[in-house]
């Protein structure tokens, strides 16, 4: 079974459309502007349906007909279910108008439609021939409606929200942004009641919809490197979702793509670390030669950092060894003759910069400013400890050097 949308040659299906609406000029009124869907079973067209988009996120099912010999086999219901899902991105409400006959009304009610309103005398005013259904002449048009969001289930929405939240949290977003994004996604897809609790490395969410659908999810989000590009992209996506431009499946797809955005290339990062080291070294009092040395030290340092990340080494090792490496290289630079380098401090301070936990530090402050003390403290301790690790690495190397030179420091 497959459903296709027909855009050209819509009139070829006129015979089938006439089953539901006996007057051709009435069909022509909506066929061109409407979307025509045809359900094929084993290559045979069995059910057709026409939907017209109305204003304000509403649509109307104008026509649905199944071949007489295969009626009552669930084709119509399958088609309606498909249409509801198909239009749930663009519309909130679907209308259907039908004659006042129990058989058809029962069918729509089983599909989840409820009474909306009545257009009096529709069939007598618009149709030349009287229409009989089950032996009763049709006079008034009965409209039924269905909320399309009821097709979206809570689990799917919450899973999307948690996934978005996890991607954000992992890549260095603030707690309030994660919270806001998740609530926004849930609200957009009509999950009425959401409660989130987010700390620096975990997400807890409970969502409730209607009377007895409650869904809770806990997600552990391990701390890892920052990728602000991904944060910016998810932020953009969240804006689009809450503006209603994008449906739930499309959002999933986008999220998967965003997650795969690679970081900057290793060589590029190494070069950037070098430039950063040199620039800050120069600002903080190094001379030209020292800055140049800081450039190379920064590059080498970042090679180590990237290596450590790839090997999943702990922060302690990466930062302590990093600090030691910087100091050792700086000492080496001082001892190379004819370079004109006589001081360690400018080079070391510059080259420390790529290790400095700037993101953890700023985020910690922002968290605390938002009165999110739990995550704020965790991130602050994380940042302070990194400072300590670096200091230990630098200090140890300096003191070893110190003991070699017998207390003469540069």
């Amino acid at each position: 079974m497959e459903i296709q949308q027909i855009t050209e040659g819509k009139r070829d299906y006129m015979d089938m459309l006439l089953l539901a609406d006996p007057q051709e000029d009435m069909i022509m009124k909506y066929l061109d502007q409407g979307d025509l869907f045809v359900l094929y079973d084993q290559g045979q067209a069995v059910t057709v349906a026409v939907v017209v988009l109305l204003n304000h996120r509403k649509c109307e099912l104008k026509n649905i007909a199944t071949m007489p010999e295969v009626q009552r086999k669930g084709y119509g219901r399958y088609m309606i279910h498909f249409l509801c899902e198909h239009y749930s991105n663009r519309c909130d409400l679907m209308y259907v108008g039908t004659g006042n006959s129990e058989a058809t009304l029962g069918f729509y009610r089983e599909c989840g439609f409820v009474n909306s309103h009545i257009v009096a005398g529709f069939f007598t005013d618009n149709y030349r021939e009287p229409i009989y259904e089950d032996g009763v002449r049709l006079v008034d048009m009965v409209y039924l409606k269905k909320r399309l969001d009821s097709e979206i289930d809570v689990k799917k929405v919450v899973d999307l929200a948690v996934e978005a939240g996890q991607v954000l949290l992992k890549n260095g977003a603030e707690i309030f942004r994660v919270e806001e994004t998740m609530t926004r996604i849930c609200k957009r897809f009509h999950v009425d009641y959401v409660d989130t609790f987010i700390i620096s490395h975990a997400i807890f969410i409970t969502a409730e919809k209607g009377m007895n659908e409650v869904y809770t999810k806990v997600k552990h989000v391990p701390l890892s490197g920052a990728h602000l590009g991904i944060v910016a992209e998810v932020n953009e996506l969240s804006r689009e979702i809450s503006a209603g431009h994008i449906g739930i499946d499309a959002a999933w797809e986008r999220l998967r793509e965003i997650e795969k955005i690679p970081g900057k290339r290793g060589a590029y990062q190494v070069f950037a670390a070098g430039v950063g080291s040199a620039a800050f070294g120069y600002l903080l009092g190094a001379n030209l030669q020292e800055s140049l040395a800081a450039f190379f030290i920064g590059c080498l340092l970042y090679v180590w950092v990237l290596f450590g990340k790839r090997m999943n080494m702990s922060k302690i090792i990466v930062n302590m060894v990093g600090g030691a490496l910087i100091t050792a290289l700086a000492i080496l630079a001082v001892h190379i003759p004819f370079l004109g380098i006589s001081r360690l401090d400018g080079m070391i301070i510059g080259a420390i910069m790529p290790l400095v936990p700037g993101l953890a530090f700023t985020n910690a402050i922002r968290e605390i400013a938002d009165s999110d003390f739990l995550s704020g403290t965790v991130r602050m301790i994380d940042a302070l400890l990194v400072f300590v690790y670096i200091a230990v690495g630098v200090g140890t190397t300096l003191s070893i050097y110190n003991s070699f030179t017998g207390g003469v420091m540069i």
């Binding site: 932020n235 800050f280 700037g358 993101l359 700023t362 300096l398």
Partner: protein, 156 residues
């Protein structure tokens, strides 16, 4: 003089952009981030001439966060993108180094002094960020200032 000017304009710009690269910030924000960093640094050295490093860091942080918040509204992206690069020139990396250095060389008094200085600077940055972050979001949206005073009161 010219050398100093170039150093104080180019170096913080390059440094800020370099750190944006390390944090994988999208390329379209490089210039904005670089300018934020440079502005923060310029304010820092300007104030430092008259006052303490902590005071200068506070002023620098104020300016950086203020610019970042305006840019966030303008460019519709997370504030962290600009904040990170702006804060970097102010981070007391130098003090941490001197603390370690003095500790190792046995100059405990000086070590304590620079350690305390590092903490003071860190706290000043915290204060600067917290102050500006607490300004309500609407103030940074153009609409807020275009509306008359009466509307503004309603907004609150």
């Amino acid at each position: 003089m010219i050398q100093g000017l170039v150093a104080n304009l180019i170096c913080p710009f390059l440094g800020s952009v370099a750190f944006e690269i390390l944090f994988n910030v999208p390329r379209r924000y490089y210039v904005a981030g670089g300018v934020t960093g440079t502005a923060g640094w310029l304010v820092y050295i300007w104030i430092e001439g008259y006052s303490s490093a902590a005071m200068a860091s506070f002023a620098g942080a104020l300016v950086v966060v203020f610019i970042s918040r305006m840019l966030t509204v303008k460019m519709k992206c997370p504030i962290t993108v600009f904040l990170i690069s702006g804060i970097f020139p102010l981070v007391p990396g130098a003090r941490v180094y001197y603390t370690a250095y003095y500790l190792v060389t046995g100059q405990t008094g000086l070590a304590g002094q620079s350690g305390l200085e590092a903490l003071k600077i860190a706290f000043a940055i915290v204060l600067g960020i917290v102050l500006v972050v607490s300004i309500p979001r609407e103030v940074f949206q153009g609409q807020y200032w275009k509306n008359g005073r009466r509307r503004r009161q309603k907004l609150k």
